[in-house]
Symmetry: C2
Subunit: 147 residues, 2 copies
Amino acid sequence: MEEQVCYRPIGIVHSPYKEPHGVPFQPSFGRGVEGTVEVFPEYADGLANLDGFSHITLICHFHRSVGYRLRVTTPHRTGLRGVFATRAPHRPNPIGVSTVRLLGVDGNIVHIADLDIIDGTPLLDIKPYVPVFIEPDKLNNGWLEGE
Amino acid sequence: MEEQVCYRPIGIVHSPYKEPHGVPFQPSFGRGVEGTVEVFPEYADGLANLDGFSHITLICHFHRSVGYRLRVTTPHRTGLRGVFATRAPHRPNPIGVSTVRLLGVDGNIVHIADLDIIDGTPLLDIKPYVPVFIEPDKLNNGWLEGE
C-alpha cells in the first residue's frame, strides 16, 4: 500500500464562482452557468474525441479545503452525517467529482456549463460521462430518507 | 496553482479480480461480482449514514498503472482516441471513479457488488451516488457514435 500518492494538475477551471459562498451544492443546481477548463497545452492532444460526449466528469482538487471532520453538517439538513455520505469539500482527501455539460472543445480550452466548481480549481482528470444503468426500483438516495 | 497534490489512501479494495486481465471495462459489466472495501479504522466514523444509499462512488488510485499516452486504443473499438475520452487506467493522473452497488456497512468494512476494480487498489475517497439528472434527448454518449 502506497503511503501517499501524488498527482500533478493537468489544467485549471475558470468559473464565475470566485468564492465558495454561492456555489451550488450539485452541478444540477448550477444549470446555465458557464465556464471553461484550461487544459495545459502538453495534455491537449488527450482531448481528441471528447466532443462526441454531451457531458464530461471533471476530477478536481478542492484547493480551498483545509482540514476535515468525519461527521459534518450539510445544507438543508439537520444533524451530523458521516463525511463519506456527503459531498462536503472538507474530506480526508479533498477530491471533487463533478459531471458538467460539454459545450465544445477549442484547442486546449473546454467550454462547459452547469458547473458547481470554484474559479481556479486545479483539474486532475477528465473522463467521458457514461450513465450508470441502474434500475430505478433498485436505486436509493440516502439524502431523501430518514431525516 | 499547486505544483502537485498528494493524498493518503483511506482504505483498500478487496476484489476477486487479482490481475488487470479480466476486469470488466465498466462496473455495469461486472454485475453480481462482490468485494469489500476496507476503510482504515481511523476513518470508519465517516461511513455513518452511508447505508441509506443503494450505490456509492469509489475514487481509487490505479496503482498498477505505469506511464500513459495521450492517444490510446480501447477494447472493441478501432483507432486511437484521446485518453480523456476514455476510461483507460493509464492516464496522466491514474485516478479511477467507479460507481458500485452497496450491500452493507459493517464497522470499517463496506460490502459492495458490481465492481470493476482490481484487488489491492488503494481507495482515496467514497461519495454517495446521487444520479445526475440529464434529459435523455440532451445526452450523447460519444462511444456509441462515429466509429
